[in-house]
């Protein structure tokens, strides 16, 4: 596999004055064929899973009216990329795929759908503060919209996360679950006023990046909570476990009087029972400190983290998640978002997940590098070689016959070629078969078929060529599995 190009590469050491600054914009990068081959593998597995669960797909524009995006996230709006005002509309690049999805549902009056959407999103993150963070990256979302019974769509979202992470074979992981209603109940029980809930979600959300002491300080100094209130919150957010923790909290006197807490706990109980039927309970952990930063969540929330410490994966996680954050998927229920776009406030309940695809790519790239297996960037099956100079016309006709039979075929774009160079090309690019033709083969109406792995050569009648190649390719594919 080729080396991963570093971001913002420039050309140093040139004597002549530069015509251009040869770089990609800050926070963006190119992806070379080797990286794209891995991306395609990952995308294929993810899309296969989404389709297995009956999802359809939609597409929305890369930019939206700025007012569509603002006020929906409770993140610093400086993170939203503006376009220059060039025709009367104030536009901005999408920050995620969830808000555009909610806008789509409201605009087209769609009340139920199960859709996935894989596309780039944009965040004007400050790379000085967040080393290595990209401003342009893929998101890979699956959402279920519609009025359904509690926790059935939600648990399927978790099942999908488990299927995807298992299929990528990148080590152990766990899906943390929590519930915004339970958190509201806990916060209320601790004495946090309603209007400060969103701010406290964000503060608690930082617990996997900074210490409790710092989070505590933020809650007291910035959010103005009494230290006694903050200390009560700490008692709860330390808790994590399985169904037994849900049972325990259901008996907590402080919470049983909070309607939100009771409802949240009921939901989590149901979620655990459905996880049992799906056979994924071992992958699920109830974690009270997990809050998800975003504003729009209203119910169950999820976050998948890698727990494995295999060499390649561990290194990639350490690299990617330099602040100790190992989240590779997340999501939750957002029942209010669509209503925010509807003129009559009509609600469409939604739950969804977003796969942290860039992080998964990094892990897969590290794995590929470690395995030292050469990654193919093309799928060429046959390479056509002339044993003599010229013979272009014959080569073109052979290629035509192979392409027409849907066999992936290449040949040199040079009129005169050298056999040795051509064989080297096949080896370097992992092409399994070569066809060699010379004057004598043409006269005899045959081709020489060389199986590159074994070096075996056989003569095949021109009229049997396609059938023979398809047979050999099938065998090669089977033996290489």
């Amino acid at each position: 596999m080729e080396a991963i190009p570093t971001e913002n590469k420039t050309q140093p050491g040139d004597d002549e004055p530069k015509k251009f600054v040869l770089k990609t914009p800050k926070g963006t990068r190119d992806f070379a064929p080797g990286q794209m081959a891995i991306r395609e593998q990952v995308f294929n597995k993810i899309v296969a899973c989404f389709k297995r669960h009956g999802a359809e797909t939609i597409d929305t524009p890369v930019f939206e009216l700025r007012e569509t995006l603002t006020g929906k996230y409770a993140v610093d709006s400086k993170l939203i990329y503006d376009l220059a005002d060039q025709g009367g509309e104030l536009l901005a690049l999408r920050y995620d795929l969830t808000v555009p999805f909610a806008r789509y549902l409201a605009m087209n009056k769609v009340t139920n759908t199960k859709r996935y959407h894989i596309a780039k999103v944009y965040r004007r993150d400050n790379p000085a503060m967040n080393r290595g963070r990209l401003r342009e990256f893929y998101q890979c979302d699956f959402d279920i919209a519609g009025q359904y019974d509690a926790m059935l769509p939600d648990t399927e979202c978790i099942k999908i996360i488990v299927e995807i992470l298992s299929s990528l074979d990148i080590g152990d992981f766990v899906v943390k679950v929590n519930h915004r209603k339970l958190l509201r109940g806990i916060f209320a029980a601790c004495g946090v006023p309603d209007h400060k809930f969103n701010s406290i979600y964000c503060a608690v959300d930082k617990l996997d990046k900074i210490t409790w002491a710092d989070v505590r300080k933020e809650m007291v100094d910035e959010d103005g909570l009494a230290p006694s209130v903050v200390d009560k919150i700490w008692e709860y957010v330390q808790l994590s476990g399985g169904i037994e923790l849900v049972e325990k909290l259901s008996k907590d006197k402080n919470l049983t009087c909070q309607e939100n807490a009771v409802e949240g706990l009921e939901d989590i109980k149901l979620l655990f029972s459905y996880c049992e039927s799906y056979g994924i309970t071992n992958r699920v952990s109830f974690d009270v400190s997990m809050t998800r930063g975003l504003y729009y969540y209203t119910g169950a929330i999820f976050e998948a983290v890698m727990t494995g410490r295999e060499t390649a994966v561990a290194a990639a996680i350490d690299e990617e998640c330099s602040m100790g954050v190992g989240s590779v998927a997340g999501g939750g229920r957002y029942d209010g978002l669509v209503g925010m776009f509807d003129s009559k406030g009509r609600k469409v309940p939604c739950v969804g997940i977003s796969i942290g695809i860039e992080r998964l790519f990094s892990i897969m790239e590290a794995k590929a590098l470690e395995s030292e297996q050469k990654m193919r960037t093309t799928e060429t099956e046959v390479y056509v070689i002339a044993a003599q100079k010229g013979m272009v016309e014959e080569r073109l006709k052979l290629c035509k016959a192979l392409w027409d039979a849907d066999i992936k075929t290449e040949q040199s774009y040079k009129k005169n070629t050298k056999m040795l160079t051509e064989f080297q090309y096949c080896e370097q690019n992992g092409i399994p078969l070569a066809i060699i033709i010379g004057q004598s083969e043409i006269e005899a109406g045959i081709i020489k078929l060389k199986i590159m792995a074994s070096g075996e050569e056989r003569e095949v009648k021109r009229c049997d060529m396609i059938e023979e190649i398809k047979k050999v390719l099938k065998t090669e594919r089977t033996t290489n599995v």
Copy 2:
């Protein structure tokens, strides 16, 4: 298939004040599942063709430094979308995929590759002037970079266009070919000064949109050509035909003294001979009026136009190409572009094509509507139905077993369902199989498998379920081809 949502749909007739302007930005649109299903079909066929020809893929950012894009097109730079200045870099959304590709090659010192790239590009077109033109649309590019022998990569590009348009089965088409060097030779022979060539390419390029009288006026009034020069150009740009026209021009006394013209004609001759080997001569037409507007072309240029007049296709072309332009693919050789990015001006010869994918989508959508065949937006194979209320746990377990066996499965997200509603869902969504379970089936360790098309029901042992379903799906797929 659902109706195609019109652009910029708003919600009329609401009494209450609107919370938001519920629309997509000017010149952009959402794509609904039915449209996406067609897009996926088209993309799959195109990518299959690119891979059949041994291409790898890369990705570059949606925006570039503004200076990377400007000065490379000879189009009005007002068409380039700027981002707001938000951190010291002046950025703009890419106008096409060719200039970013050239920047990528120069930056990473890549001297040869065969790559495809499918991604969105942006043009701040004025919709008032160009009705229906989108500001955000997909491009689908294939390029061959490297120092190779004349016309071998170029002709393969034409072969690829022919393969793709044939595979989509949307009617007759022809690939117009011409050569920038020949045009230079012709212009020089007619008396056009060198520095006006680019401007005259653009003027001639308008011939499929406006009359010769108007083009002539532009050349005289705006480009300052003498009427006698313009009239000589007209003698040439009316010409089109096959290899016999190439032969005729090769004997044209005005052109034989123009080195550029001679070289261009030699190339076209070679191209026709390679087309002969590829068996695509019937699809190729040499057309002297075809110039391609863009600045960067240096050699052979191509443009595929639909000539078929089948009802659906014709209507879609008329709709899409309201100004009489039926181009669905185009491209050509651009040997100088990469050098413009290299500090030492090192050249990388390139030739490439861009498939007019949005136009192809419109034609395919029109075809799908005409055929009245219901387009599936999901690939669900099995739907799990309970014959009694509840039974959620049993349904979840069945789904798990099916998903684990990679069978595309759905079930209701409601705890209690009605059999009739469930069967209707299967019919509406073209789901081929339904599994029905009730208490008696569970006790007997069986399932009822219903083949929706025939209505046939059979009892299958739970342990044979996966095998039986896979067998039935295979048969169903074969009979539905």
